[in-house]
Amino acid sequence: MKKADKFVKNAAGRTVPTLVNGEKVVPFKGVNGYKPKHRGAAPRVPTCIDYPKDGNKLVKTLKDALQKSGLKDGMTISTHHHYRNGDYIANLVFDIAAELGVKDLRWVPSAAFPCHAPIIKHLDSGVVHHIEGSLNGPLGDYCSHGKMKGLGYLRSHGGRYRAIADGEMHIDIAVMCASASDMMGNANGVNGKHPFGPMAFTKADVKYADRTIVVTDTLVDFPCYPWEIMGNDVDFVVVLDEVGDPEQIVSGTTRITKSPDRLLIAENCAKFIDAAGILKDGMNFQAGAGGTSLAFVHFVKKMMQEKGIKARSMVGGSTKFLVDMLEEGLTDYIFDGQTFGLEAISSLRDNPNHIPIGIFDIYDFHAKGNLAQMMDVIVLGSTEVDVKFNANCVTHSDGRMLHGIGGFQNCLLAKCTMIAVPSFRDRIPVIKDEVTTLVAPGELVDVIVTERGIAINPQRKDLIEATQDSGLPIKDIKELKAEVDEICGIPEKPKLSDEPVAVVEWVDGTILDMIRKVED
């Protein structure tokens, strides 16, 4: 079986395969150009009498649980990433699979991190056939060099939920770690020894997988409440000494940047939404973690205080910073799919206005509504943008895989999507003629904010008009590019091979672009 075959040019002008890992896929048809009519996934129908009457689903070891779940060659295994770079479970699952001699597994994590580097040996040995999920660090490097047997498959957070719910990605066994669980499998991420927050990324897995295993380091008496995972969706419960290291959740995401240039970018974003009339009482906005995003919220907060207004809701990843705003009355609600730090976890647990949300609620393109599209403004980062306002967040300019898509594509549905980037990094211009990898179609990117100026998508005449007398450094994107090229010089085009190593899916399930093998 070829990793990828039958290539066509899609609506974005990108060459993409229509056969990926032996399965037919649909090329990108344009933004909002594809609405499938079929019915979605149908979960396995269990019967309660097949489960212990006392609700006790405890098994001794994860190996037992995997064996009882029928682990065998070719299966699809999922894990979630709420412990981020501190996750212990995925490595453990595939070590056990190797011990049992199982081959050709497909791993579909909600995201992978550098801590998952040990899985490379299982990719080499054939225990894991390929990964569908974000790839970065050592795994991204491995995939970029074409070493993975199957084609990598990058989906947004919402796209992953969609693929499971639409029946495109069937999970055989979901292994879900929880910071607290009871013997029945009622579980959450806010209690126990090592809480990590909400469990947004488990919802599709638990609902649609044939078997669900809950793994915890803290067994509590029935009922474990709040029950973000319901015990009646769970097959087995395993108690281990440790499931993850919460210290690794926060790294680098909870402090406002100190870089004067990035602060300037964040401040320009805040001034822009003020000038555009977006900053107003009752607004809804995404306020993610990460240095520049937090700085944006910091400036928005100051402006809100000066104007005496408050937001109706803010969408996390929440941090202490957002919690302070909730407690100071600067927002009525926090919607939260991921927390960073103990203050945010306690707030989520104890404050009824700090609401955990699932990925379906906020991001899924096939939901009957979508929180992201209700957002007044969302600020995103990128590795590259281009003069057509397209953006790339998954590869370097030389094509090496760097990040997963995360919620990036899903956020593009907001009323105003801003991309905040430095205009160059280490002499490499960020504004290109054409992005190396297409992740955000330009028609959905409204504003690009750099330290040297702000470019507004010409389609957004309303924003252009609203901000024309603002005194902000608003420039044509081409003018901005010329200014940066003048400083850096025009870079040579990196050499990329024709061999695909991964595809980038659009939120509707079509194939937006292909990532090529990197030559060293």
């Binding site: 280490d426 002499r427 330290e451 850096c488 010089g489 870079p491 040579e492 990196p494 050499k495």
Partner: protein, 394 residues
């Protein structure tokens, strides 16, 4: 003389700079080795620039190792030149073209509310300094440069003056204390520097020496670009002599450096600043007497914006026109708080309106309500309005 020289900086935390290691050889031609994170994009450009520069210095046999973290051409060129000049006694300079934006002169009395200090040998900070809109940017050759790095810093500063867009900020250089500082002038004067800061200034004689040196350099270069001077008073003696210093030719502003001054005084520097009250008042008085701008010291706690604000308000109340800054985030606080307040503007507008009305009616005496207004009051009001509406771009 050793046959191997290095210049520049390279390391995990260093960006936009490079370290070059030059080894002169007897034979074998030119070999350039590059280790760069931007090699895929700029590798050929970097190597051809380095080769061209070695050729310019008539070097025929050498190995050049470039360890690069995204340095721009002007940085690479400066590093190679610095390495060459450690090994060979050559006077000629490898100059890249001066960018259009750096050809302007500045006015004697332009706004100098904020002057941002940048270590002269750290190119990363210079690239984006101008976008933070300080009134002036100082490329420092004095205290922020290690003694062993003074020569390469001067070459880098020269190239920075020619190649980096400061987005309208006045291009300033702080030279070393005299006599070394006179040598620095040779490096920067022909390259459109707008203003020279003369540190640890204690007498008008020193300023005269600087003026003479500049005149000499400009004669050689047939370049009459106007170069202003800002002496920094950093000692008890300097404070005593401040009026004659301020009155010397080309001096447009005079700053006080409180770290050295308080050390000279034998007093600890405090946030309240009682120990320097006399010196600061004296400096303002001397500067005003000489019709130049009095400029305050820096506020060194970059995380304390409220403290900075109080410091600025205090400076303003003593009569200063501006102060130094060591972090771009300080600039806005400084500008905002040196600016006239709403009340000051309102009052000034009333006074100026009354004055203009009196002029129109041909009245000799200006009055506002029952109060008579003296000419100096009108002048100050006009100054306030000018400051409030000031557009920095000249």
């Amino acid at each position: 003389m050793s046959k191997v020289a290095t210049a520049g900086n390279y390391g995990k935390k260093i960006r936009s700079d490079c370290k070059v290691t030059l080894e002169l050889r007897e034979s074998g031609g030119i070999q350039v080795d590059l280790n760069s994170k931007v090699e895929d994009y700029f590798g050929n450009k970097i190597i051809s620039l380095a080769r061209e520069e070695l050729k310019f210095f008539d070097i025929k046999h050498a190995r050049l190792l470039i360890e690069d973290s995204g340095s721009l051409d002007f940085v690479l060129a400066a590093r190679v030149e610095a390495a060459v000049k450690q090994l060979l006694d050559v006077d000629k300079e490898y100059l890249l073209p001066i960018i259009e934006q750096n050809k302007n002169e500045t006015k004697k009395n332009r706004l100098r509310r904020s002057r941002l200090y940048l270590p002269g040998n750290t190119p990363k900070l210079a690239l984006n300094a101008g976008i933070h809109k300080p009134d002036g940017i100082i490329l420092d050759l004095e205290d922020s440069v290690a003694p062993a790095k003074k020569k390469e810093a001067a070459i880098l500063v020269r190239n920075t003056l020619r190649s980096v867009n400061f987005y309208g900020a006045e291009r300033m250089v702080r030279i070393n204390q005299l006599p070394r500082g006179l040598k620095d002038l040779e490096m920067v004067i022909p390259h459109n520097v707008n203003l020279i800061l003369v540190p640890k200034c204690e007498s008008s004689q020193q300023i005269k020496e600087v003026n003479e040196k500049i005149a000499e350099i400009q004669k050689d270069n047939k370049n009459k670009f106007s170069v202003w001077l800002m002496p920094i008073i950093e000692s008890a003696l300097g404070v005593i002599n401040s009026y004659e210093i301020a009155s010397t030719k080309n001096v447009v502003a005079m700053a006080i450096g409180l770290e050295d001054y308080t050390a000279d005084l034998g007093a600890a520097r405090t946030k309240a600043g009682d120990e320097s009250f006399f010196a600061r008042s004296q400096l303002v008085n001397s500067a005003r007497a000489a019709r130049i701008q009095p400029i305050d010291s820096v506020y060194s706690d970059v995380n304390d914006m409220e403290g900075l604000k109080q410091n600025v308000l205090n400076s303003k109340s003593l009569g200063f026109d501006g102060m130094g800054c060591i972090h771009p985030r300080q600039i806005e606080v400084i500008h905002k708080n040196f600016a006239p307040t709403e009340d000051e503007i309102k009052k000034a507008r009333k006074i100026v309106n009354a004055y203009e009305e009196a002029q129109n009616k041909g009245l000799g005496v200006v009055s506002l309500g029952s109060k008579m207004i003296d000419p100096p009051v009108v002048k100050r009001a006009q100054q306030t309005l000018k400051l409030a509406n000031f557009e920095r771009n000249e």
